[in-house]
């Protein structure tokens, strides 16, 4: 089982999908305006699920910032660990 999701890992994952450096990722960005599409979100969800953070597409998709994503993910991660 892969290592549990950390904020660092979360940033790195986003950076990969946003074609940015991890430190360039602005957590206040709106995922839509950052250029993410549903397939990328689904792919990220699959990846994070493997790291023990189980969220649904709808839950992530309705968030309006990456910070809200992290909030949700860390809540789920705590719930499962």
């Amino acid at each position: 089982m892969p290592a549990p999701l950390t904020l660092e890992g979360f940033r790195a994952d986003l950076a990969e999908f946003l074609y940015q450096q991890p430190d360039e990722v602005d957590l206040e960005d709106n995922p839509v305006y950052a250029g993410l599409d549903s397939l990328r979100i689904v792919t990220l969800i699959e990846r994070w699920r493997e790291s023990g953070a189980d969220v649904t597409f709808v839950e992530l998709a309705e968030c309006t910032s990456f910070a809200q994503w992290w909030q949700l993910l860390s809540a789920r991660r705590e719930a499962t660990t």
């Binding site: 990969e16 995922p31 305006y33 250029g35 993410l36 397939l39 309705e62």
Partner: protein
Amino acid sequence: MSAPNPRRPLLAAQEGIWTGQQLDPDSPAYNTAEYVHIDGPVDTTVFDAALHHVVAETEALNVAFAADDQGRPWQTDAPAGDWHLHTADLTAGPDPHAAALAWMDQDMVRPVDLARDAVFGHALLRIAADQYIWYHRVHHIALDGFGLSLVARRVAQVYTALMAGEPVEDSGFGTLAAVREEERAYRDSARFTKDRAYWTDRFADRPPVATPAGCTSLPARTFHRRVADLDAAETEALRAAARDLKATWSEALLAVTVAHLHHLTGEPEIVLSLPAMGRLGSVSLRVPSMVRNILPLRIAVTASDSLRDLTARVSAELRAGLPHQRYRYEQLRRDLKLVGGQRRLSGPGVNIMPFEYDLRFAGHRSTVHNVSAGPVDDLSVNVYDRSEGAGLRIAVDANPDLYDEADVTALQDGLLSLLRAAVAAPDQSLGDLSVRSSTVTVLDGGPLPRPARQVLSLIADHAARRGGAVAVEHDGRHITYAQLFGAARDLARRLAARRVGRGDLVAVALPRGIDAITAILGVLLSGAAYSPLDPTAPPVRRAELLDNVRPALVLTTSAHAADCTGSDVLALDQSESGPGQPTAPAPAPDDLAYVLHTSGSTGRPKGVEIDHRALAHFVTGATHRYGLQQPDRVLQFAPLHFDTSVEEIFLTLCAGATLVIRTDDMTDSVPAFLDACARLRISFLDLPTAYWHELAYAVSTGAATLPAEVRTVVIGGEAALPERVDRWREAVGTSVRLLNTYGPTEATVVATVADLHDPSLAPGDVPIGLPLPGTRATVVDGELHLLGDNLAVGYRGDRLPDATRFSSLAVLTGAPRAYRTGDLVRIGDEGQLRYLGRSDTEFKISGHRVHPAEVESALLAHPGVRDAAVAGQVLDDGTRRLAAYVVPDGPPPSVTVIRDHLRATLPAAMVPSAVEFLDRLPRTSTGKTDRKALATPALRAQLASLGAELVHTVAAVWQQVLGVATVSAQDDVFDLGAQSLQAIQVANRLGTELRRDVKVAWIFQHPTPAQLAAYLEEEALPTASGLPASLPADSVLDPDIRPGGGSRTDRAPHRILLTGATGFVGVHLLAELLTTTGAEVVCPVRAPSPAGATARVHQALDAHLISLPDAARTRITAVPADLARPRLGLDEELFSELARTCGAIFHNGATVSIMREYATLRAANTESTRTLLRMAAVHSTPLHFVSTLSVAPPLTLSPEVPEGFLPPHPGLRHGYQQSKWAAERLLEQAAERGLPVTVHRLGRIVGPAATGYVNERDFLWSVLRAGIPEGIVPDLFEEEIWTPVDHVARALVHLCLGQRRPGAAVFNHAAAAPVRLRDVYDWLEEYGYPLRRLPLPQWRAALPRSSEAAQSMLAFFEATDATDPTGVTSDDATGPDLRLGRIRAENVVGGLHGSDITCPPVDRDLVFRYLDHCVTTGTLPAPAGKRGHHPSRSK
């Protein structure tokens, strides 16, 4: 709730769907559906309860939609209430799953009435013990794909809870109001402005949108779908490649789609349509609703791009566009003015659904399958992620108006093979991969049965071994092989004596016959090649050919020798002294055998050079393929200058069979032809397809019988009509071999052969088969290429543009030499070729490639169509259109019926906009359909002033709806900012105003008022105005008819052309012309021969009691002709001679019948006028046209009849009036262009005052003939213009040949007072016929049906009743008044001023003279009442 059902606006996405539905309100295409296959038992009752629960809590499913007066749609609450789940147990059937799919298909095609019906439907179908299918349909206006999935998930949840007996959790669904509010807020946001700026900037140049179909169409009611799965390994390979490219698999798939579309279209940029869920960050994530958006994605592409290059470009474009994905696609189209007509923002769709549903129904797994995602504009590639890691499913949907199923298959196969290739080699050029993954099919005719031997050596063998066998028969003569070969050798020696031999070309200008065969063989034996020339060809043509081939010698008969000046001539029928020379050795394979002429692309004939190798190969292959054998007796049908003669002669003689040359009279009639074949014991018939069509027809109707000895029939020369093939097979069966051959002269006579007698061929299927043994063929870009030793050496004189048709074909290994045929073909599933048409007749219309042949075969499938030709035409204004020329089988069906028939099978763009009926199709001198003649539009669908009013109406409605000051006829309303809603309003208003159905789709298809009016005109004609569909087009004069060089103003022409000279007026015109001028009068007359024509003219003169001195009669030249035919049925030479020599043209001929419809009169009455105008234009010859006052509008429409040309008017009710009016219209345009033309409108023409002769065909006299014996006459009219025929002839000739009043072009011959019918009836009574006068209906009722005259009268009235319920025959006593207003006749009066010509009054005396004539001839009974009128007349 207190408010009774408030109405709410639609969401933007819903409005898009609503508008789409309005385009075709009865279309079921917006039904979307999926089914969930549940793997386990389902409790039907609980499932039903769960569904009802979910439906009740889903707001979007409890709605109704309706438009207000303005056409604006609203949504209201409408509880679905009492609906039922359809349940069925299908397990008893053989294939329950298929039965379930069939049930869904049926359910899907039911249109939904958005105002009344539930927008959804459910079914639960049991397909196995523990297997269920839950089918869920919903109109797209209520839910999009994501909305559907929300509902499905919720159903699974509720069902599971109910099954477990647990309480049902809250749905968590948000409200539609929240979605509406979010949308409203977005529209007012800064984000909206930003998004709009992005898209309008990105698409500011409105890029062209490329699609494989090359054109657009409105969404159809159905779509083609082909589904293919990528297995798990392939899918994983795609994912891995995408990861390597730092992209998603969807982006890689988009890149491959772009590359494939580029490969198919060659366009440098592809614009895709990407459906986007439109829910990220939105409340609608939890609201079942319709919010889906579409993103246009433009990607530049070249063939050298690799998957890596292109994927990066796709990713970047998406990254740039996705942040702006909330901006509505419909809005962007409006912003960019890309609405209506052919405009579009983006092309094929790629719909990627990354969600796998993993729904569990009380713990049982399920899989979800899409049934329909809504209508398909063009193409749509739908990609579904199948559950459990099974891989991707790729469903390609296509609009059936643009693509057929084979297209879809090819598209999907091409896409998938490119995907596999690209994933395996992401750095290779996708263009190369495309070429490599598509394969060129080579069709191979198989090996020759034996090595090809030279034809001369084969024939020499027969002469040596079976010298006594009959080689050739003709008209009672025959010649044996030994004699034939001996005679040929003698000729070869004579040629050698003239130093003609190897390398030379000898022209053979001989009629069919034994001598011709001998001559051909003699030439070949001399070592020279032969070139057949038509001995009857016009001298000009012959000179051209001789100039082209430059023969060493011309072989002919002494009769034709004089025609071949400039060439060395050997007349075969003149014996030559002097010893012959020994002949050359046998020709080598590379030596030419013959040179045959075909028409070149430039119109100049080109000589095709065939060498002995090609001839020998062809003979060997074809003899084997046809099964031709020694005992066969083969008819030699073709003239020698057709290459079919090569087939007939050499196949027969090389096989040692007997060649039977047809005699000229054999083809007089089909029954006579087949009788002759029987008599001659023909076993093998080789016929031109056009002639065989006649044969097949005659045989199928029993008019003729195929002789029992005929065992093989070979046809070729043009595409065989499926209908005739079917008839033939029905009548003849499949025991007689029917071989359909195809081949250009350039590939030695025949290239491919199909067995049409094959019983396994489907009806209507007419393949051209497979290549001959020893040859191959391939199809490149749809065009047939021929390969092998049968190919010609090339063209004589090597004309460069044509020579390029022979070239090496690089797509095949070894790049073999090939002949590019210019013929478009298709390879059928079983590998046989089907002919589609000429690539040069392929016509692009609205960007759609149309093969006339395809449309023709669809036309021919209609039982009322006997023959048909379709041509693409380009009108003066550059408009392109398809015109269909139809030869009806019996009475012509209506144009609407024909169009409806075509619409059922063809895409809209392929349905001709003009349909015209002809008696026969124009043929070229070689008997093929004359496509050139058809492509030059004789009729034009331009908007004549007929449509002007309608244009105005359409423009006015647009003006109101758009709220702009002016909309002109040519304004594109969508450029003026029109939007879908307004299009719908215009359709409604126009519909009200015009009191007819106006479809919203038409508004989009015809974006200018002029276009829409033109379309409405055509659509409307049969129902609205009553004018025939082709009338507006027929009444437009071809632009090239203009005054030619020099003008002829001489008043004493030496030669005058007079049409209709045998008719009532014509014969008097003839007499007048012969009497008052010294000119020769040329009379085109329907007759089989010049002698027959002359006889008819003299008979007519005699019948009308016209006496002329013999000297005058010798100035009559009658020529056989037919006004209803192209060029009046005159040959080209005579036609141009008449154009050159005639000093005046009197066009008086017409088919006069008030019973016949326009379609059957237009050729003789209208088109003949066009033809004569064309003749007159050459030297600006004056043309005088005899017309009728009945073209004028009645008094109710116009107080007077002007002596001028007439605009169209509603009084044009009968075909005859219409045909004459259209002809006048042509003259009007000719006059405007400066041609000296006059129009003479006549009233009722009565017998000559001098003799009292009565024209018995006259309508009024027919009425009297029926009524007088019964003592009853009808009140037909009040008064009429009556003119004695001899007077009108004098007046007309004087006006035409005398001093012409300036500006006078139209003459109303109505100088005398009208005759009152009341007076006529008084005189009849006075003459001795007691009469009762009855209103027309009573008269008809009282008329007994016994007498012949009465019968034909009644038949007339019944016929007109059917077509004209409000016309003269109306039962309504107050029916329309058809009287004319005051008839202006100043031009006539002025023109006759100073002459001694005055119109004799039609009075009691004259009527009595007519009655005397009728009594004398027995047409009327002698009056029983008062007698003794003769004395009164003789006073």
